[in-house]
């Protein structure tokens, strides 16, 4: 999924999938992310 917006304080990112659907993603397990970055997301959590 592609990062759209980051809420670093809550460790959440708004991400968009291939079809344009957006959802909140936990980013506590990966290094700091920025908009435009591509993440591997599983069950709402970024793993890589």
């Amino acid at each position: 999924m592609t990062v759209v917006r980051v809420d670093a304080e809550r460790m959440l990112a708004l991400c968009e999938d291939e079809d344009g659907a957006r959802s909140s993603v936990e980013i506590a397990l990966v290094d700091p992310v920025r908009p435009g970055q591509v993440l591997l997301v599983h069950a709402g959590t970024a793993l890589a």
């Binding site: 936990e26 599983h42 069950a43 709402g44 959590t45 890589a48």
Partner: protein, 371 residues
């Protein structure tokens, strides 16, 4: 899309298929197990097996999270869902898995408040929006999904959400692989290793396969080019007489895994002494429960569950399919009594299940062969 399109390149796939043909030894039959249900889905969706020579056989493994949940565990979930005041949440596939008295969808039709969620975070959001209700999350899956559950439980605690709990049915991948390797039913030449589980656990946990059993493992991505390259890497190991863990999915999988995920899992979970797997029976230290520090968020501590072992329907051969002993179409009820619309066994429920993958994609190829 970056990291996807280039791994679906048809020309590159054809080149790899040619190299695979060149790598096989004439007269030798190769049996390779793809551990993960995501691989099974991709293999049939993209027709990867059609590109392989006849003497390279892909066997499906136990890595579909929904498929390995036994019927008794579904009954436990339904018992929790039918508690007064409970909102029971689970992934969509799980709602269609049959227990001994129907599915979670059937329980929902009878009036239980059962809701599909995409992540445990969604379940926590429901708990926060309905503080007068108790929200239970039915946690399933391998090490890929477990970190998400662990983080959500930590978040629930940090935010003081007390009406949220978890029915933990997470499992780990190494014990069933060891059980399969110890099984006299199965002779395998190598493994296509689970890419996303390895993102979390890394490559190290699979080293026992070459060391103890003398079989190569290649951790693989999920696009067709990834899988073809992984097959080629296994065949080249066999041809060269090598036997080791290789990582084809380096763009995602670090050799040591995701250390933060492993840390949060070890804080929130503890190993169960044993756990029942559909078709594989009880396997020691293969399931996770909530650790003592998180026991107050354990739904099975808040309400009683039957906890009864239920035998699979006699007609269903999911166990043999999950062990790679038979192919889905060899099951007596495949595509007749058991279809994705009316599944008898779990392997026909999830898109990652071998039976559903064959039914949705592979069976057409087989029909062409028969004609």
């Amino acid at each position: 899309m970056k990291f996807v399109d280039e791994f679906r390149d048809a020309e590159l796939g054809r080149v790899l298929a040619g190299e695979i043909v060149a790598a096989v030894e004439p007269g030798r039959h190769y049996k390779l197990m793809e551990v993960c249900g995501g691989h099974t889905h991709s293999i049939y969706k993209y027709g990867v097996d059609d590109l392989l020579p006849e003497n390279v056989e892909l066997v499906h493994g136990p890595g579909c999270p929904v498929c390995v949940i036994p019927m008794g565990r579904v009954d436990d979930g339904i018992a929790l869902a039918e508690q007064p005041g409970v909102i029971f949440t689970c992934f969509g596939d799980m709602m269609r898995v049959p227990g001994s008295h129907g599915t979670l969808l059937d329980a929902k039709a009878r009036g239980a408040d059962i809701r599909m969620v995409y992540s445990p975070l969604d379940a926590l959001r429901i708990a926060k929006s309905e503080p007068e209700r108790q929200v239970v999350f039915f946690a399933i899956g391998f090490e890929t999904t477990a970190p998400s559950t662990a983080l959500t439980l930590k978040r629930a605690r940090a935010e003081g959400v007390t009406n949220f709990s978890c029915m933990c049915s997470h499992v780990t991948i190494v014990p069933p692989l060891r059980a399969l390797l110890d099984s006299p039913d199965l002779r395998l030449d190598g493994f296509i290793g689970p890419g996303h589980v390895s993102t979390v656990v890394g490559a190290r946990p699979f080293e026992f396969i070459p060391v103890d059993y003398g079989k190569p493992v290649v951790i693989s991505g999920f696009e067709p080019v990834d899988i073809l390259q992984s097959v080629l890497m296994i065949l080249r190991q066999l041809r060269a007489g090598r036997c080791e863990v290789e990582n084809q999915y380096k763009r995602v999988v670090p050799y040591e895994g995701n250390l933060r995920a492993l840390e949060v899992m070890s804080e929130v979970f503890a190993l169960r002494p044993h756990f029942e797997w559909r078709g594989l029976g009880f396997i020691s230290q293969s399931g996770l429960r909530l650790s003592d520090d998180y026991a107050d968020l354990d739904a099975e501590q808040r309400w009683p569950v039957p906890g009864v072992r239920v035998a699979d329907p006699k007609a269903c051969q999911c166990g043999e399919v999950l062990k790679g002993v038979i192919k889905p179409w060899e099951c007596k009820v495949f595509g007749t009594a058991c279809t994705p619309e009316r599944p008898i066994g779990t392997c026909m429920v999830s898109s990652e299940g071998a039976c559903a993958a064959y039914y949705n994609y592979g069976r057409f190829a087989r029909e062409r062969e028969v004609v």
